[in-house]
Symmetry: C2
Subunit: 266 residues, 2 copies
């Protein structure tokens, strides 16, 4: 998604040239290019898929809407299998229209996980609940902190449900370091993503994630926390940024790799 | 600030006509109208001043800048005394330019409170640390949760330092209800403010606070929490909203009073 201006063949080619061996994919471009074609493309380029983004949106009250969401998440698990990744990232969903019941919405996420977790496990896929920054609590994700995400995840086996740690969403939270340790202790850090916090935020606040090193977040500090928690998986850089999307995608990918090396690599 | 399009005489006149007996003031309009003239105006209208907003911005590293901030906060205490309010609301300030050290910035707020608390107490004024929504952590307020605000406040006597609870900033936080109880137990709820959460957020996110009843927050639920915590002080409505500011101020004030009655009054 960081370089969504690239087609999948352009992306995989650019990764190969930069020596990047792993890539996180989003469902929409995969669907556009074709699921099996994408799986073949990444396999032939020698890439592995770190995570598939994203399932979730599990807060509907309406039974038909809820059934559609569960169906869609089972499809997302199937897609992850085809792409060869064992991790599906979940964005929980916001409040239903007109609702003021955050607690109820969070509980419906738990109910959905009880249905999706066993399905995912049967297919060898782990679900990663991604807490989103509290500024998204109303319209995108009622799970706002790592502590909330772990409270949900720990109702299920770690091989079914864990969390995604994204610096952009948790950097402000003084409890996040201890929650990363908590997640690591039960093997629940299923994904680790980097994005920097830059201001001013754009209208709608979705597409203002800063390039690594441009903002307020000490990436190496957060890497230290996940390292100390025993995490040895891939590190993704996930930027939603209109200015980056407007530039040449290969240049942005090369810049991102260089920033990663400068600010987050060992 | 909710109706900053009104002059202070227009504001006090409109409050009198609506039967509103208390008003929270901001320093800038008070300074423009004149401190003593404002104090006389509110007294003659029979209004009392609930809080003065705002002191704070205490995170500077540079000694000269820090000294200027402390001076300004002592002036704010003096202004509160002249206006006849016992509560000065503090917005802590963001990260200094280029800094990524949230923890250090929070510690400098504590250092500043150690200097300002005794000064305020000698003048009969209480400082109210206002945690701002985490989306302001970088550029406006490094204190993002009620728990963080109380961790700071509890280093000092409650008659010196407490917290301001604003629904807009804490509504997403599942720990906030228990933190309100914690604040009440030590007499540290020094202000209670209402604003609703509406989306999409505007560019810069500052001026998108929703009119009571327009958004995702159950005002009566939060009033129940402060009631249960023993809070019996005034309830302020503080909206920063370009659309409300563009309308007739008297109409907005009347609407706000009606919304308050519908969504928050007993």
């Amino acid at each position: 998604m960081t370089v969504k201006q690239l087609s999948l063949p352009e992306l995989t080619g650019a990764c190969a040239r930069l020596g990047i061996g792993q890539v996180g994919l989003w469902r929409e471009p995969v669907r556009s290019y074709g699921l099996r074609a994408t799986a073949r493309l990444v396999r032939e380029t020698g890439l592995t898929v770190t995570t598939l983004c994203r399932g979730g949106f599990l807060t509907a009250v309406d039974p038909a809407e809820r059934a559609r969401a569960l169906d869609d998440n089972r499809r997302a698990v199937d897609e992850a299998v085809t792409l060869g990744t064992d991790t599906l990232v979940l964005v929980s969903g916001g409040l239903p229209d007109g609702s003021k019941d955050l607690r109820g919405a969070r509980e419906r996420v738990a109910d959905a996980l009880a249905e999706l977790g066993p399905y995912a496990e049967r297919h060898g896929v782990r679900l990663a609940i991604e807490p989103l920054h509290p500024m998204f609590a109303a319209d995108r994700c009622v799970v706002s902190t790592l502590a909330q995400a772990l409270d949900l995840a720990e109702r299920f086996p770690a091989r079914q449900v864990g969390v995604a740690v994204d610096t952009y969403h948790v950097w402000w939270d003084d409890r996040a370091p201890q929650q990363i340790a908590r997640a690591g202790a039960t093997g629940r850090i299923h994904a680790f993503q980097l994005a920097d916090w830059t201001t001013p935020l754009p209208e709608g606040v979705l597409n203002g994630r800063g390039q690594i090193g441009d903002g307020a977040i000490d990436m190496r500090e957060w890497k230290t926390y996940v390292d100390a928690a025993g995490y040895t998986g891939p590190i993704e850089v996930e930027l939603f940024n209109d200015a980056l999307w407007a530039r040449d995608g290969r240049e942005v990918l090369a810049e991102t790799a260089a920033r990663f090396a400068a600010h987050a690599a060992d």
